[in-house]
């Protein structure tokens, strides 16, 4: 049996790939060469890091007497995140409805979505520092408000997407039964989207815990402030204690919230985006990564 002799194909040009790689290398090189970091000091880097981590966790190690205070600050951060998330959730729900093109018109929903995008683009810390702290002073309030406002952006966008993805059957049924617009929303749309949206609220809460810890660093209360204070006064033992508290509590809340989210989604029937893509617990629109 003869094998038909086909000629070997030429190797395809890799020009596009090479150009892209070249560009990236160029940009990176430019960044590395121009950044204001003293190269001579780089070898000292590991030593300095080891020293501070040593002071925080090994010798003298975390100050266990500080535990109640550190824990109290963490609780304050949790409270800030909790209330902030509620504000964000409550205000984002109607915006989510208005931002869904199958509920309102294309034009209206687009405008709302753009508005939400702008809100999302501003980091919470900026909202706090720039808007709310000047307005209401330092403390927990501006932190809570900043978190609330920023959450409206993300939660609004996610809610709108969930609503756009609904099954139209129940909505038609509600309309056919003669329901008024608000009733249609309440009975036709809401039951379908509620589990997924509530899951997003929970996971936003997880993220907001971190946000509120950050906001403390600029004086908006909570555990961030405790950390700043201890570092400023070089009480590294206290700083170590604070870090331990943050890590432990955050992991606990993440685990509990993750479990709860999965239960809600399963209870609501089926898997959701939140579960399938297992959203990263930082500023993430999980859906947005897979389908930009």
């Amino acid at each position: 049996m003869t094998i038909p002799t086909a000629s070997r194909p030429p190797k395809p040009s890799q020009r596009a790939k090479h150009i892209a790689t070249g560009l990236v290398v160029l940009v990176v090189a430019a960044a590395v060469l121009t950044v204001d970091v003293q190269i001579e000091r780089l070898p000292d880097l590991p030593g300095a890091l080891v020293r501070i981590f040593g002071r925080m966790f090994l010798e003298p190690g975390p100050e266990w007497a500080y535990l109640p205070d550190a824990f109290g600050s963490m609780l304050e951060s949790i409270q800030i995140a909790w209330l902030g998330t509620i504000i964000g959730a409550v205000l984002s729900l109607p915006l989510g409805f208005f931002g869904a093109k199958n509920i309102t018109s294309r034009l209206v929903s687009n405008i709302i979505r753009q508005l939400l995008n702008v809100i999302r683009a501003v980091p919470e810390i900026l909202v706090a520092v720039v808007v709310f702290i000047p307005m209401v002073g330092l403390g927990a309030y501006p932190g809570m408000l900043a978190i609330g406002v920023h959450s409206i952006g993300t939660l609004g966008k996610l809610s709108a997407e969930v609503i756009e993805g609904i099954d139209t059957g129940p909505v038609e049924a509600a309309r056919a039964a003669g329901g008024r617009p608000l009733q249609i929303q309440r009975w036709g749309v809401l039951p379908q989207v509620l589990p997924e949206i509530v899951a997003f609220w929970l996971y936003r809460f997880e993220i907001n815990i971190r946000a509120s810890a950050i906001l403390g660093a600029v004086g908006a209360g909570g555990v961030g402030e405790a950390l700043v204070q201890s570092l400023v006064f070089r009480r590294y033992d206290r700083a170590g204690m604070v870090v331990i508290v943050v890590i432990v509590v955050t992991i606990l809340i993440d685990t509990a919230s993750g479990w709860l989210r999965r239960r809600i989604i399963e209870g609501g029937g089926g898997t959701s985006r939140a579960d399938l893509e297992q959203p990263e617990l930082v500023e993430v629109d999980a859906v947005a990564i897979q389908r930009p």
């Binding site: 049996m1 094998i3 038909p4 086909a6 000629s7 070997r8 194909p9 190797k11």
Partner: protein
């Protein structure tokens, strides 16, 4: 020569996939294994290259024990055994050539393979393998853009690129249509004859087994129940192996030796 010595495999759940199998496969033989799903065909074939570890007994290749081989030794043994899978197991996102070059990974060395910095000789071997199965013109095509039959031929090329002494094929044509199945089986037959390569094939189409199997092994519930030539194997033999009467699903149909 491949030798099974009272080889047994018991899976963690308690399933006895292989029970006391003793078997000798001389070099250059084309052997077909038949049996129902779960009868132990896959386990038997994977015991040869150690993908399934033995619970008892041993498998030796030219006297070297597979069961007691250390990891590095095992990799060496595997590099001399090419394997073809029912679902092709190609890396869909990359080119045909890169898939075939996977057969050179062991011999080309870790550093070169990591950076895809293959020596010309290795690329040549891959190209020759592609020519032997007749699809070299698709070398730079993405694997997922090929038809089922073409993908399986890439799988065969990948195995050939290893320059192996043994070829294992686990239901190589189960996902293919009848004409393509014959093309692939004939390719395997040709490779067995021209390169004198021991070829062991799992099949569940009995008519194919009869035509292409120089030697047929029947497995039932983990035990070796038949060992004979393709000529001797008739309906009664198969019925014994299967433990039930045969159905249309057991045949490929369409003129068992087309062309």
């Amino acid at each position: 020569m491949i030798r099974f010595d009272s080889a047994s495999v018991t899976y963690p759940g308690g399933v006895h996939a292989l029970k006391n199998v003793t078997l000798e496969i001389p070099d250059g033989q084309m052997m077909v294994i038949v049996g129902l799903s779960g009868a132990g065909k896959s386990t038997l074939i994977r015991a040869i290259n150690g993908l399934v570890p033995l619970s008892d007994g041993d498998v030796t290749i030219d006297g070297v024990s597979v069961r007691h081989a250390k990891p590095k030794q095992l990799r060496e043994i595997r590099s001399r055994i090419g394997m073809i899978f029912q679902t092709f197991n190609l890396v869909n996102r990359t080119t045909v050539l890169n898939n075939v070059l996977m057969g050179r990974l062991h011999d080309a060395g870790t550093m070169r393979s990591l950076l895809a910095w293959y020596k010309p000789e290795d690329v040549e071997i891959a190209m020759l393998a592609l020519e032997r199965v007749g699809i070299v013109e698709k070398a730079y095509v993405r694997a997922s853009n090929l038809s089922g039959g073409q993908q399986q031929r890439v799988g065969i090329a990948r195995a050939l690129a290893q320059q192996p002494k043994i070829i294992l094929a686990d239901e190589p044509v189960a996902s293919l249509d009848p004409p393509t199945s014959h093309v692939v089986m004939r390719d395997l037959q040709r490779i067995n004859r021209e390169l004198n390569m021991t070829t062991i094939i799992n099949l569940h189409f009995l008519d194919l087994a009869k035509v292409y199997g120089e030697r047929i092994i029947g497995m039932r519930a983990g035990e070796l129940v038949y060992d004979g030539t393709g000529a001797e194997a008739d309906e009664n033999v198969f019925r014994d192996i299967y433990g039930r009467s045969l159905t249309a699903d057991d045949m490929l149909g369409e003129a068992a030796a087309a062309g």
